[in-house]
């Protein structure tokens, strides 16, 4: 038997992401028909100290074998090191901060989603390949934002017209949009997760600015697109998964998820689904009490991911293809359509620092 503790954000702002991860995860579990996997779900309220407490609780009193669920990098940084140090496994369904991919990597930590830089770097590479020469980059002033800009620049390699940091949680972007309009950039890349991205895109589209936009999927995912509406049409965004990706099992996943929860799945739902699949495959191959065997089974990643082929690099982060998607309208629904690969067999650059 495997006992899984899931710490994720289920209340307050950002709850949508946690709910998608949870729903995707539980869907996979249900479809597998396995009754030897028990899941305990806890709400971290997006507060690091609460997440730490919950991790303690799950490890100390629930005695779980595996933890998963955390959405945000800062919460992951607070929880993962101590959990893995206590010999538990941690499967990340979302956040992939560079520290955990590099110097802070751990044999019991597996990232099933992506390393944080992946989308940004792939977007940079795509923009360069697409012929853009000069990029305007925009992100909130916090570590993930700084990483996003660094990642994009690494992939892009071209000239940067301006690099602007906004306040975290900012809601009005008139000032930044004016700067964009005044610049001579030929592509705009921005990383503004959640509500920030919605506000920005709505304001951008009404401003008369004409610089084409690229972003990471976080700002254009299914949960958000409904709120941005037509303003997002035509925007390109990078993701490791898309609902129209033609790989075995994906169409079934999309159909069953839509049917069960009455909404289209997001990347987070896909990530939760894959995380569960990984867990199921490993626990079928090895007993969780035999840590080495279980770890090897996880590393093998012997399951059919809805993103298609992928494998774990030595730092236990995925090597996978990052795709470019475009926001389109299907009937009344604004959604994403696959454009093509942006970076094939992408592996993050931090693995070299990982000694395990």
């Amino acid at each position: 038997d495997v006992k899984v503790g899931m710490i994720t954000t289920l209340s307050g702002g950002g709850a949508g992401l946690g709910i998608d991860v949870r729903d995707g995860f539980m869907l996979a579990l249900e479809q597998s028909g396995r009754d030897d996997i028990e899941v305990v779900i806890e709400d971290d309220q997006r507060k690091p100290d609460v997440a730490v407490q919950l991790a303690d609780k799950l490890v100390q009193s629930e005695k779980v074998d595996v933890l998963t669920g955390i959405i945000w990098s800062n919460l992951a940084m607070a929880v993962v090191p101590s959990v893995t140090a206590q010999g538990k496994f941690y499967l990340s369904p979302n956040a992939g901060p560079s520290q955990l991919a590099g110097r802070g990597c751990h044999q019991n930590y597996f990232n099933v989603a992506w390393q944080n830089d992946a989308y940004h770097e792939a977007a940079g590479a795509y923009a360069a390949a697409d012929g853009s020469k000069k990029a305007f980059v925009l992100a909130p002033n916090y570590p993930a934002g700084q990483d996003a800009i660094t990642g994009f620049k690494r992939g892009f390699g071209g000239e940067i017209a301006a690099e602007v940091y906004t306040k975290l949680g900012q809601t009005d972007y008139a000032a930044e949009i004016a700067q964009i309009k005044a610049s001579d950039a030929d592509v705009l890349y921005y990383f503004l997760p959640g509500g920030m991205g919605i506000s920005f895109m709505k304001q951008y589209s009404g401003s008369g600015a004409e610089v084409p936009v690229i972003g990471p999927a976080f700002s254009f995912d299914q949960g958000i697109l409904g709120a941005i509406g037509d303003a997002a049409l035509g925007v390109k965004n990078t993701a490791h998964w898309s609902k129209d990706l033609d790989v075995p099992g994906n169409a079934e996943f999309v159909a069953s998820f839509s049917e069960k929860y009455d909404r289209l799945p997001s990347i987070y739902a896909a990530q939760g689904f894959d995380t569960a699949l990984l867990l199921i495959s490993a626990s079928a191959a090895a007993d969780v009490t035999d840590a080495d065997a279980f770890r090897a089974a996880l590393k093998a990643a012997d399951f059919q991911s809805v993103r298609g082929a992928f494998e774990f690099a030595d730092n236990h982060h995925p090597i996978q293809t990052i795709y470019m998607r475009e926001v389109v309208k299907e009937g009344d629904v604004v959604t994403n359509r696959l454009v093509g690969p942006a970076a094939e067999n992408y592996a993050d650059p931090y693995g070299v620092d990982c000694k395990m």
Partner: protein, 329 residues
């Protein structure tokens, strides 16, 4: 000596805080101890605030600043110690440390100094303006640490091993709990003595009639400033402990919601009660824990409960249980 109902109640609370973790320790429920430690540390933070708020009437919506300063004092010292990098090389070398007493001292001194600085500027205002200016300072610190990349920015810092205390194994939950509980008792004892001291009398009067206090030759501003610094120092100490409990610090320690929660503890427990912050924090932590598991929408129930306490439980929980009381005799 006959004890008042409130005193009896306080003793029961203390006894509970001793008995519960011991029981949890014996029945091997370490998480219960962790939870109790969290409650005790938050109590300590609120006891600190209660000195400014309960006696001095200074409703600070920025007390998380001191909590955060204490937390970062721990985080920075331990971070340098675990990376073997000196904190400062010029004009003289300062090394990081993993020793709790040293960290506590630094946390207390640093937060007292910050409180003095903030107090000097903000104690010129009063009422809602004071509430808001302390909030403003809280937000400044919050945004500053979010973008302070040297120490992790919004991600904060993880400290892998809990800091040490001579003669104790702080990794054993119950021992760390004992340490925190002792500090809480010390702070409560100090608060009790302070209430009856000349300083307490003068500060209490300065809240009610500053004009009168001036007219007898005392300066309310200085009284408040000293109270604010003491208050900040105690909350700062709690911050250092909190960081050690989680082995983690981040800018959320500065957030205004946390400042608000400190105030909530005090009101739930009962304003101007010695044990108000303790009762409030314990109840809050317990509710957060038990309601949190019940439903995704548990905040609604929690909100309704808070509303009930404010609307119908004048004098907070202690008021409900122990009846109308007074701080002074």
């Amino acid at each position: 000596m006959r004890l008042s109902r409130e005193a009896v109640f306080n003793l029961v609370v203390l006894a509970g805080l001793v008995a519960l973790p011991l029981y949890a320790h014996l029945s091997d429920a370490p998480f219960t101890i962790t939870l109790a430690t969290r409650a005790v540390i938050l109590s300590l933070a609120a006891v600190g605030l209660n000195i400014a708020l309960g006696i001095g009437g200074l409703v600070s919506l920025g007390h998380a600043v001191f909590f955060g300063v204490g937390g970062y004092a721990m985080g920075i010292l331990a971070f340098h110690a675990q990376n073997y990098t000196p904190l400062m090389e010029w004009p003289f070398v300062i090394e990081g440390t993993k020793s709790m007493p040293v960290i506590w001292l630094v946390a207390v001194v640093a937060s007292a100094l910050v409180a003095l600085g903030i107090g000097l500027l903000s104690l010129r205002t009063s009422g809602v303006y004071f509430i808001m200016i302390t909030l403003a300072f809280g937000q400044m610190f919050y945004y500053f640490t979010i973008s302070w990349s040297a120490y992790g920015g919004e991600d904060g810092m993880s400290i892998y091993v809990r800091n040490g205390f001579p003669g104790l194994n702080t990794l054993v939950p119950v021992q760390f709990y004992g340490l925190c509980f002792t500090l809480l008792c010390a702070a409560l004892a100090f608060n009790a003595v302070l209430l009856r001291s000349p300083f307490g009398l003068a500060l209490n009067a300065a809240r009610q009639v500053p004009e009168r206090v001036r007219a007898v030759g005392l300066d309310p501003f200085r009284l408040r400033l000293v109270a604010f610094a003491i208050s900040g120092a105690i909350t700062g100490l709690a911050g250092a402990l909190f960081a050690d409990l989680n082995r983690f610090v981040s800018p959320t320690m500065f957030s205004w919601q946390l400042s608000g929660e400190f105030i909530v503890f005090i009101i739930i427990g009962g304003t101007a009660r010695l044990f108000g912050p303790v009762v409030g924090a314990v109840l809050f932590v317990a509710l957060e824990h038990f309601l949190g598991g019940m439903s995704d929408y548990w905040h609604i129930w929690f909100g309704l409960l808070l509303l009930g306490v404010v609307l119908f439980g004048k004098g907070g929980l202690i008021g409900l249980i122990a009846g109308r009381g007074r701080v002074h005799d």
